[in-house]
Amino acid sequence: MQRNTTSKLGMGCIYAFLGFWSLVVIVPMVWVLVTSFKTDQEIFFSPWLPPAKLMFENFVRAWTKADISLYFINSMIVILPAIFFTLLFSAMAGYVLARYPFKGNRLIFFGFMGGMLFPVALALVPLFFLLQTFKILDSHFGLILVYIAYSLPFTVFFMTGFMKTLPSELIEAAIIDGAGNFQLFFKIIIPLSRNGLVSMGIFNFLGMWNQYILPLVLLTSQKKYVLSQGLAFLQHQQRYQSDWSGLFAAVVIVMLPTLIVYIIFQNQIQKGLTVGALKG
């Protein structure tokens, strides 16, 4: 960015600092990966040595005996439909809010934005009893509805901004060609919004994958736990039955999918995540 050249010493310092922080970030992650292939004895007595033999059994045990596979499936059952409907409903709402002037438009827009101000902790107790009243407490369906509702504020905000940037000519041309409202939306608007939808899809995926307090309160039977909750459960169980190696393998299983998603889509993710923050 700056055009004046930096001295060799200055460059050396810069690389030293950047290299140091890279180590701080990477070493813990590599450590957990290496440790997940060790036996319990190796973990306890030689934390620094690589495993004598790669214990793939740890992963098998975590996946089957520690129910990680079950939590994984539960997470997918909840997250995939939640993302799909979050994107659909937000695109619909964003489209109308961006392109149709009507009385109450601003009120609804700022109403959604207001939702970003409140801490989820405040809603927990009423939410718990609301779901109980609807008989959807401790059900994946209930959690899906809640996930969608709490993803809406930011996604609607983002999609409204995005829909404003769509070229009007294409939309007007489609109207002249006699496209109906729904046809227009699904055949023209949605394909045009692909980039925005992908960004928000990834953003919400990461958010829901990380979500902990909502499933903790709203899912009470262990067989229905989602991954984050199941991993925390495993961690707390650890006090009574020590299976370090299984736990480390479980951490790796939970860690890897999002890391891989990130490495594939890293450009889109960094842009997608920062856009909201920068607009403030």
Binding site: N4, T35, S90, P126, Y150, V251, V254, L259, L273
Partner: protein, 302 residues
């Protein structure tokens, strides 16, 4: 285009608005009322007690204990996160080779679930199987901790005086990459001509950073301050997964969110827990407004 426009507007808005009203707005409004009851959750009977929950809160030592910890995080986290992320962003912005790789690496912790991070770090801090203590022993850092009155390397999670540093450190570790990317994006939006002019005027790199970059980043700084402030008032997931719950020894790591969760879902004082949540909300709101006011300056247009 806008003929029969309500035939579009209503069906397109309805799903989002209905879900939002039922599952977000209603619970928030309901919470305000619940905080005025002594509801135990078992019956439909919700005795109205006025401000009694709030009065109880004022005299509840455990509430103040948790609040004190939130406030400590509120001071420490923004300083560390902003200093580190700004520093790293500045260095990456210096036309260096491999800047893209550094960006990708620094962002890693942001995409790992906070629960994985919590489990991972609780073992890094572990006195026997963890690596942090052995690294510090290898570097002979005992003298450093003796300056602060420890016998040697502290036991991190096991010591009431270090447990919040340990948890806060993990949060910093996770957050820095994200805020670095935000600062970096803002820095790249600054027109290069500003720096060229400064170079002509003979300003060094440090002067450029201080007199050009920082003032132009002010709006971003404000946003980051609010975000990190919200983080300091949350800390729920990380605390819960790193600290053995349900024991009295977890008080040194209590924050408002974990305390109110315990009050609601472990001892069924739903009314009281909601009052704590309302207090938490008001503090978060006050913090956001205060930050916006206190950091408001003439916005520099460019």
């Amino acid at each position: 285009m806008y003929k029969h426009k309500y035939r579009v507007i209503i069906p397109f808005l309805a799903p989002a608005v209905i879900l939002y009203l039922v599952f977000v707005i209603y619970p928030y409004i309901r919470a305000m009322y619940n905080s005025l009851t002594s509801w135990k959750g078992v019956s439909a009977n919700q005795p109205f007690v006025g401000l009694a929950n709030y009065e109880r809160m004022i005299h509840d030592e455990l509430f103040w204990n948790a609040l004190k910890h939130n406030l400590q995080y509120l001071i420490i986290l923004p300083i560390l996160v902003i200093a580190l992320s700004l520093f790293l962003a500045f260095m990456i912005s210096q036309q260096i080779r491999g800047s893209k790789t550094f960006r990708i690496i620094f962002f890693f912790p942001q995409v790992i679930s906070i629960i994985s991070i919590g489990v991972l770090w609780s073992y890094i801090y572990h006195p026997t199987i963890g690596i942090l203590t052995s690294i510090m022993q290898f570097l002979r850092l005992e003298w450093f901790f003796q300056l602060f009155g420890f016998d040697g390397i502290p036991v991190w999670m096991g010591d009431p005086s270090t447990v919040r540093w340990a948890i806060g450190g993990v949060v910093v570790w996770q957050a820095v990459g994200f805020y670095m990317i935000i600062f970096l994006a803002a820095m790249e939006a600054i027109p290069i001509t500003f720096y060229e002019a400064a170079v002509l005027d003979g300003a060094g790199r440090f002067r450029q950073f201080w007199n050009i970059t920082i003032p132009l980043l002010w709006d971003t700084m404000q946003t980051v301050l609010i975000f990190v402030g919200l983080l300091a008032f949350d800390m729920f997931a990380i605390t819960r997964v790193m600290v053995v719950s349900g024991s009295t020894t977890n008080r040194p790591s209590d924050v408002l969110a974990t305390y109110l969760y315990e009050q609601a879902f472990q001892v069924s004082r739903f009314g009281y827990a909601t009052a704590i949540a309302v207090a938490l909300f008001l503090m978060v709101l006050a913090l956001s407004i205060f930050t916006m006011r206190a950091t408001r300056r003439e916005s520099v247009e460019y």
